[in-house]
Symmetry: C2
Subunit: 343 residues, 2 copies
DNA sequence: TCTCAATTTGCATACCTATGCAATGCGTTC
DNA sequence: GAACGCATTGCATAGGTATGCAAATTGAGA
C-alpha cells in the first residue's frame, strides 16, 4: 500500500518520462501523444497519483473554489439554494467553501478577509450585504461577486434576485381582489433590499387602490419576532383580515401563532400570504399561499454569471431579476376566478 | 488603488527587509522583534497584503480545509449540523468545503477523489457511508475521517452518532407505557446504520414485552415514501394505533398524511413519534414527540476528534455515541406520570 | 532518401510561502 | 572592556505543478 503523498515527479520517474509530460497528461488541452498518455496514466494508476489542486492553483491562479457567505441556514430557502448551487458548480469542477457570518458589518468584514486568503475564484453572498470597501477589495483582487437574493447599488457587484417590488404589488392585488379591507404587513428586515422592495411594492399598490396598511411591523426575518408581531396585531382594536408576511420562514411562525395560539381560523378570519415558496410551504400543515422565488433559475443565473466572469473573462456587471408566480394555496381566501392559471 | 496580487516579496521590498521576515511576522509563534513586526505590518497594511493560504499549505502540508460530504439538505437536521460545524470550525481557523453526493456507491467514489485532490485536512461525512477502499485511501493519505450520524465497522473510521439502539428501545417503552397495542414502524433506510439500529432497538424491546409490530415499512428517509407507507398501513385490516417513524423528516410527512389526508386524529386515533428533534419538531403545527439527537454535542465531538487528529497527532479511532432525551410533545399519547423529567 | 513542417517532449523556471541553518546584533556578566 | 549567550535576521531551498522555449521526434511530400 502506497503510504504518503505521491507527486507528478514520482509518476514521471516510474513512467520514465519528464515531470512536464505527466503534467500535460493531466492538463486538458495540452499536447500529448496517445502512447505517452497511456504510459503516464498507467504509472499514475499504479501509484494512485492525483494532481494536487492547491499546487496547481498556485501556477494557474485558479483555485476552483467558490466562497459562499451565508448568515443563516434555518430558513429553508438557503439550504435549498446551497444544495442547488453546490450541485451546479460541482458539474463544472468547482466547489463551495462555506463561510458563516453574523449579519452585521464587522463579522462580514472579518470573514471576507479570510475568504480572499483562500484565493477563491468567485464569491456568492446569500442574504448578506457588503460594504463598499469590501466590494472594492474584491474588485481589486479580481474576484467576481454575486449577491444572491440581495440587491445593492454598488456598480461592481453582480446580483440575482426575484422581482421583489413586482412581487409585493402582485400580492397586494391578490389580497384586494379577495375582498380584504384590513390588511397588515409583517415585513422582511428593513435593513435588507428584499425586505424593503417587497414592502414598497406592496404598500404602493395598496395605496393606488386607496388602501392603507392597518399595521406594519418589521419581523427581521426571525420567527419569534414575527410571532410576536402577529400577537401584537391582534391585541389592538383593528384586527387585520389579511397579513402579508415578508418571507415563508416567518409566515410559518405567524400561522402557528394565529392557528394554535390565538385559535383563529385561517383563512376564514384572516388570510396569510408568504414569500419564497420554500418546499415546506406546500406541506399540508401549512399549505401556504406564497410568491415563488424560482431558486432553480436564480441559481442558474448565479452560476452562469460567475462562470462567465471566471472563464470567459466577462466584465459586465449584471443585475438580474427573475419573476416568479404566486402559488395559490389554502392559507388565503381565493378571489373569484383566481387560480394558478389565472396569472 | 492596488490592482493585482500583492505578495510577501512586495511587502519585504517596501519594508526594506527580507521575505522571510515578512513570513515570520505572519506566522504565529515565530521569532520577530517588535520593531520588525511594526515595520512589516505597516508595509503590509499599506499594500493590502494577506498571506496566500494555498501557497502556505503547500509548505506546511495543512490546507485548513475540511471536506464535508453530504447527500441531502432537505432534512433540517443537516443544514442545522452544517451551520454548527461551520461555526465551530471557523473559530479554529478551518473552513468547510462542500461536496454533495447522491447516496450511492459510484457517486461517493468519484467525489471522494476530488475531495482528496483539495488536500483537505479532514473529512466529515454526514449521512453517507464509505467503501473500505475509500477508507483505505484516506488512511493512506493521512486524512482523518469522521462519520457524522452514521456508523460503520471499519477500524479506520471515527464516528459520532446518537445511541440509536437505546433510542429505539426507549421509544418502544414509551409507546407500550402509553397503552398502545397495534404498533407500527416506518423505518429509516435499511441501508443505513442509523435506520437499522433504531429499528432493532425498537423491535427488540417490543418483543421483550411480548409485542410484535403490526407493520414495518422502509421509508428510505424520503417524504413521499413515508407518506405512502402511512397510507398503506391504514389501508390494511389492522390499523396501527401508534407509529414510530425513523426520523423527523419523514414523520412530518406522515403527520401531514394522517391528519390532512386520512383525517385521523393525532394522538387520539394514532400516536406518532419521530427521531432527531429538529427545530421544526417543536413548531406548534407538528408538535412532534421525538427522540432528540443532540446535534450540538455531536458537532462538538466531531470537531474535537478532528482537531485532535490534525493538531495533536492523535491516532486513536473513536466511536462516540451520545445519548439524547425523549422530547415529549403532543403527537403521541402521554402515559400516566410521564413527562420530560420522568426520564 | 532527403527536407521541411508539425507535433511531441524535456529543460528550466515561476507561482508564494515557510523554515533550517548560519550570521548578525544585542545585552549581560565578570 | 572582553567574552559569552540569546534573540533576531537573512540566505537559500523546498513544496507540487504548469508552461514558454528549444530540442527532438514524427510524418508527409518530392
Amino acid at each position: 500500500m502506497p503510504s504518503e503523498k505521491v507527486t507528478s515527479v514520482d509518476v514521471a520517474k516510474r513512467a520514465g518520462v519528464s515531470q512536464s509530460a505527466v503534467s500535460r497528461v493531466f492538463t486538458p488541452g495540452a499536447s500529448v501523444s496517445p502512447k505517452m498518455a497511456e504510459k503516464v496514466l498507467k504509472a499514475a494508476e499504479e501509484l494512485g497519483y492525483r494532481p494536487n489542486v492547491l499546487a496547481r492553483s498556485l501556477i494557474t491562479g485558479r483555485s476552483r473554489i467558490i466562497g459562499l457567505v451565508v448568515a443563516y441556514l434555518d430558513n429553508q430557502f438557503y439550504p435549498d439554494a446551497l444544495e442547488r448551487l453546490s450541485n451546479a458548480l460541482q458539474t463544472h469542477g468547482y466547489h463551495i467553501l462555506v463561510f458563516m457570518v453574523s449579519n452585521d458589518e464587522s463579522g462580514t468584514e472579518k470573514v471576507m478577509g479570510e475568504l480572499l486568503d483562500y484565493q477563491v475564484d468567485g464569491i456568492i453572498t446569500a442574504s448578506v450585504a457588503m460594504s463598499n470597501a469590501l466590494a472594492a477589495r474584491c474588485a481589486a483582487a479580481g474576484v467576481p461577486v454575486v449577491l444572491f437574493n440581495r440587491g445593492q447599488d454598488d456598480e461592481r457587484l453582480n446580483q440575482v434576485t426575484s422581482n421583489n417590488y413586482i412581487g409585493g404589488r402582485r400580492i397586494a392585488d391578490f389580497l384586494i381582489a379577495g375582498g380584504h379591507t384590513r390588511i397588515a404587513h409583517i415585513a422582511g428586515w428593513s435593513g435588507s433590499s428584499t425586505g424593503r422592495d417587497r414592502r414598497h411594492g406592496f404598500e404602493d399598490r395598496l395605496r393606488e387602490k386607496g388602501l392603507d396598511l392597518v399595521a406594519c411591523i418589521d419581523g427581521m426575518y426571525r420567527r419569534e419576532i414575527a410571532a410576536q408581531a402577529a400577537r401584537d396585531m391582534f391585541a389592538g382594536d383593528v384586527k387585520p383580515d389579511a397579513i402579508f408576511v415578508g418571507n415563508d420562514h416567518m409566515a410559518f411562525a405567524v400561522l402557528d401563532t394565529l392557528k394554535h395560539e390565538l385559535k383563529l381560523d385561517v383563512p376564514g378570519e384572516v388570510s396569510v400570504v408568504g414569500y419564497d415558496d420554500v418546499p415546506m410551504a406546500a406541506w399540508p400543515s401549512y399549505d401556504l399561499t406564497t410568491l415563488r422565488q424560482p431558486s432553480g433559475r436564480m441559481v442558474e443565473a448565479t452560476v452562469k454569471t460567475l462562470l462567465d466572469w471566471i472563464e470567459e473573462g466577462s466584465r459586465d456587471v449584471r443585475k438580474i431579476e427573475i419573476d416568479g408566480p404566486l402559488m395559490i394555496r389554502g392559507s388565503a381566501r381565493v378571489p373569484e376566478g383566481w387560480s394558478y392559471e389565472g396569472l
